[in-house]
C-alpha cells in the first residue's frame, strides 16, 4: 500500500505549514498551494514508490529553507557558541581530578570531539591540564601542610596549668615564598586557558 509515501508527503506538508506560520497570510497560502501543486505534478498519480517520493521531497528542499526564501525566519536558528557538552568539557578539564582523573579524560575527549575550537586551541587545552588536574595533589606540599611532620604534646601539670612541649618538625617543605606563587600559577593558568577557550568557542572552527 502507499501508506508510507502518503505519510512522507503529509509530514513534509505539515512541517512546511508550521515553518510558514510566521509568513504573512497571503504569502503563506500561495506558498503552500504552490508546493502542493508541485508535489501533484512531480509525483503524478498514485501509487508512488517510496524512492521517487523521497527524491521529489529532497529536491524541494527543507521546509525551513523554502520559508526563509519567502522572507520568513532564518534558515536555521543560530547555533549557540557553547553547547552544554562544550561547557561540561571545559569544566571537566580543570576540575577533572575528581574520580582519579577520569573526569579530565572525559573533558579531553569532549574537547577534541567538539568543532568549537581549532586544533591549536585543543592542544593548549590538553597540554595545560595535567597541571590543573594535579594541582589538588601539589597543593598541600606546596603550601607546606603535608610535607612536614610536626609534633608537639601538651599535658596538664600538677598545678593544673597546661604544659606544652616545643613543636618538633621533620621533613622538607617548599618555602611559602615559592610554593604560594607556584600554586597560584597552577590554578591561574588552567583558569586562564578555560576562560580563553570559552571566549574563543564558536561553531565550525575545527
Amino acid at each position: 500500500m502507499t501508506s508510507t509515501t502518503d505519510r512522507l508527503v503529509h509530514d513534509y506538508l505539515e512541517a512546511l505549514e508550521s515553518a510558514a506560520a510566521g509568513l504573512p497570510p497571503d504569502a503563506r497560502r500561495d506558498l503552500l498551494a504552490d508546493i502542493r501543486e508541485h508535489l501533484d505534478q512531480a509525483l503524478g498519480s498514485p501509487p508512488y514508490d517510496e524512492i521517487s517520493v523521497r527524491i521529489v521531497l529532497d529536491r524541494l528542499g527543507e521546509p525551513e529553507e523554502i520559508v526563509a526564501a519567502a522572507g520568513g525566519r532564518a534558515v536555521a536558528p543560530p547555533e549557540p557558541r557553547l553547547r552544554v557538552r562544550d561547557a561540561v568539557g571545559l569544566a571537566l578539564l580543570p576540575f577533572g581530578a575528581i574520580a582519579f582523573g577520569v573526569g579530565w579524560l572525559v573533558g579531553v575527549v569532549l574537547l577534541w570531539t567538539s568543532d568549537r575550537w581549532t586544533t591549536r586551541e585543543k592542544l593548549l587545552g590538553t597540554l595545560v591540564w595535567p597541571g590543573g588536574v594535579l594541582a589538588p595533589v601539589y597543593a598541600p606540599v606546596l603550601l607546606g601542610v603535608d610535607g612536614q611532620r610536626c609534633s608537639s604534646s601538651a599535658s596538664i601539670g600538677p598545678d593544673g596549668t597546661v604544659v606544652t612541649t616545643p613543636e618538633v618538625c621533620e621533613g622538607f617543605t617548599l618555602p611559602q615564598v615559592v610554593g604560594v606563587p607556584l600554586l597560584i600559577l597552577l590554578v591561574a593558568v588552567p583558569v586562564a586557558v578555560v576562560l580563553l577557550l570559552g571566549s574563543r568557542a564558536a561553531p565550525r572552527r575545527g
Binding site: 500561495d30 508546493i35 508541485h38 524541494l60 529553507e65 523554502i66 526564501a69
Partner: protein, 114 residues
Amino acid sequence: MVAPSGLAQLRRGAIEHCVLALLDREERYGFDLVRELGESGELVTSEGTIYPLLSRLRRDGLVETTWRASDAGPPRRYYRLTDSGRTALAGFRTEWARFRDAVDAVLGTRGDAA
C-alpha cells in the same frame, strides 16, 4: 548547505533574472520552470525556494500569471513576463555582463586566461 551570505545574495539576484530570462522566450507553468532551473544542479539546489521567488516577482509586477486547463490533471498556473519584467531583464543583462567581466578580470578567471 548555506552559502556565505554575500554569495547567497548574489545567487538570489542572479536566479531571479534567470527566471525572467526563461519566461522571455515563452510562458511556462511553475513546475516546468522549477524543473528546468533545477536541472543543472548549479543554479538551484532546493527547487522549493523558486516558488517564493515567483510569488515575489508577481508581487513586484515583473511577471503575471494565468490559469490554464491542462490535459493531464488540474489546471496550471502559467507565468508570463510583463513589460517591466522585460525592462528589468534587459537591464540585468547589461549589468551582469559588466559585472562578470570586471570580476573575471580581477580574479584572472576569463575563459581564455584560465
